[in-house]
């Protein structure tokens, strides 16, 4: 009995699924980090703009 094709398919399927899942996680994490940084920067510039005008910084409660 020699079924090398099935063996190769099983191991290939395993690594392909894991690879795709890691890429999927990495892309989602990257997109989140980009959005986080942009939002943090906007909040910071808004706060510094408010303090430069002499007003109180916006409430963050």
């Amino acid at each position: 009995m020699d079924h090398l094709g099935y063996l190769a398919a099983a191991y290939s399927a395993f690594f392909v699924v894991i690879f795709l899942y890691v890429v999927f996680l990495w892309r989602r994490q990257h997109a989140l980090e980009v959005e986080l940084r942009a939002l943090e920067a906007r909040l910071k510039s808004r706060a510094s703009g408010a303090s430069a005008r002499g007003g109180e910084p916006p409430s963050t409660d």
């Binding site: 063996l7 099983a10 699924v17 996680l25 408010a50 409430s59």
Partner: protein, 236 residues
């Protein structure tokens, strides 16, 4: 920073362990006499199944703690474990099917263990569909936690299914007659190394997913903060 270092170290350990497992599977372990080389699927199929059972048990435990304490980290852990568990559950069904075709002559059969495994897969597809399609509210999280706990009740059924019902699925550790499923010590050692490698892989994936959920939570907090700041500026 600390979590980033942990992720990198866990990733490296996983890589080394996976390489060790592959070396043992393809070089060290002897070829099984009856089934030939295709039996080597066993060393990825069985750890995938065990890891998915462990992952779904973790979902149930974290969900129970979430229902009890109401702390968000428990819900994040349950969600992340369910998603990683689904990856391994899908893999053990795919590898099992690829092993069944040459040995049983069929890709799939409505055998008790296969059917109960498919039910487990469907239950957690439902869990993940609920989490992805509904809004991220505490009510949805509580409902998902109940689904996560109920889904895990299928795990003991899968484990005992080979003894309770007539089945063509083999028993791994102890045969139906009470003997040992694996006789050769090299096969046992290879299986153990593969289980350790898969545990590390699961832990790594789980860490990545939990970090992502925390980043998403932080992003939602910032969005609320920004919306409040906008509203305050508009009201002035």
């Amino acid at each position: 920073m600390a979590s980033s270092i942990t992720r990198i170290q866990l990733g490296r350990a996983t890589l080394v362990l996976m390489l060790a497992a592959l070396t043992m599977i393809f070089i060290y372990v002897p070829t099984e006499a009856d089934q030939g080389v295709v039996q080597r699927i066993f060393y990825f199929h069985v750890p995938s199944a065990w890891i998915s059972f462990g992952a779904f048990a973790l979902v149930a435990i974290a969900s129970a703690f979430y229902l009890w304490l109401g702390d968000q980290p428990w819900d994040d852990l349950a969600y992340a474990a369910a998603e990683c568990g689904m990856v391994f559950c899908t893999l053990f069904i795919i590898t099992g099917s690829l092993w069944a075709r040459p040995i049983w002559g069929a890709w799939w059969t409505w055998d008790s263990r296969l059917t109960t495994s498919l039910i487990l897969w469907l239950l957690y597809v439902g869990y993940l569909a609920l989490r992805n399609m509904a809004d991220d509210t505490p009510q949805v999280a509580r409902f998902a936690a109940v689904v996560g706990i109920v889904g895990a009740l299928d795990i003991p059924v899968i484990i005992v299914s080979v003894r309770l019902w007539r089945t063509i699925h083999p028993s791994v550790i102890v045969t139906r007659e009470g003997g040992r499923g694996l006789e050769d010590p090299r096969m046992i050692a290879t299986l153990l190394v593969a289980v350790v490698a898969f545990t590390a892989l699961f832990a790594w994936l789980l860490t990545l997913r939990v970090c992502e959920l925390r980043a998403r939570s932080r992003l939602n907090d910032l969005r609320r903060e920004f919306a409040l700041a906008e509203a305050a500026a508009g009201g002035r």
